[in-house]
Amino acid sequence: MIILKNTRKIIAAITLFLVFPSLQAQSTSVEMADLFREQGKIYVVIAVMLVLFAALITYLFVVDRKVKKLEDKVDELDRE
């Protein structure tokens, strides 16, 4: 009986060791850019993208203003 109890314990321990690491591995085995994020360099990329975006938007505002001027000019000619 004692041997049987021990075997059960051993089997339980083995299964625990076998199952738990694999469960843990399953939740973290999906590769993500964790290290990259830890190093903080991702902020640089975001900054670059924001600069790019800001430049495009600024240009869009310039075009917008130009169109506004044209509209005003046409309205002025219309009134004459």
């Binding site: 939740s27 973290t28 085995s29 999906v30 590769e31 993500m32 850019a33 994020r37 991702i42 990329v45 975001i46 993208m49 924001l50 975006f53 938007i57 869009l60 505002f61 075009v63 917008d64 203003r65 169109v67 506004k68 044209l70 509209e71 046409v74 000619l77 219309d78 004459e80």
Partner: protein, 226 residues
């Protein structure tokens, strides 16, 4: 420099897209095999298709308005909404091919959603060609307006209905769950929906610029100032 009146929605669009760039790259995303970090493409690739859908809907409404009122400006609005929508669709196709190359193994797979998108794209390209090939204003408006309704219905069938009836690699099609379960958790929603609104506002900005320029063009051609 800027007139505050009428500029608020442009600022809103800029802020929302800016937020998307930051939160889209830094925010928490579900850890999924195969997709890995590319799941963040959802904030940018899928957004383009949503923007295209909104713009094409605007276009078909404008076409109906033109057909019922006969006003040229509605035909111009329909045309430009399609133009900007096609820009969004082109970006959607290109980014989709890039994404598919790394997750599905090839830039173009024989998927009903992809082929449907290609067919709709060609359908709208035909609209632009058809419209530019007619010289008479009224005729152009009526013929392209009727065709636009047809193109819109075909687009909805090819992109939204057929892929849902058959198997598709795209989430939300052929029994795949869409935004409800694993695909878009509540974290991602807080980035995705602002992205759609932000990019639509920027698209609407481009659209409004073009419409204003066409209005100027119309005024000039209607009366010649000496």
């Amino acid at each position: 420099m800027l007139n505050v009146k009428g500029v608020w929605w442009k600022i809103l669009g800029i802020l929302l897209v800016g937020y998307t760039i930051v939160a889209g790259l830094l925010g928490e995303v579900p850890r999924l095999p195969i997709l890995n970090e590319t799941i963040r493409n959802l904030y940018f690739h899928v957004t383009m298709w949503f923007v295209m859908l909104i713009l094409f809907t605007m276009s078909v409404v404008s076409s109906v308005a033109h057909l019922s009122t006969g006003k040229i400006i509605w035909d111009i609005r329909a045309n430009i909404a399609v133009q900007v929508g096609m820009v969004a669709a082109s970006i959607g196709i290109l980014t989709g091919m890039l994404w598919a190359n790394f997750t599905w193994g090839a830039p173009w797979v024989n998927d009903p959603k992809l082929n449907g998108a290609a067919v709709s794209f060609l359908g709208y390209a035909a609209y632009l060609v058809l419209r530019s090939s007619i010289d008479d204003d009224q005729k152009r408006g009526r013929i392209s307006g009727v065709y636009n309704i047809f193109a819109f219905v075909m687009m909805i069938v090819f992109i939204q209905i057929l892929p849902r009836l058959t198997d598709s690699l795209h989430p939300g099609n052929g029994g795949n769950p869409a935004f409800s379960s694993y695909d878009l958790d509540s974290n991602m929603r807080t980035v995705f929906y602002p992205a759609v609104i932000g990019w639509f506002l920027l698209g609407y900005w481009l659209y409004s610029l073009q419409v204003r320029m066409r209005k100027i063009e119309l005024k000039i051609s209607n009366r010649v100032w000496k």
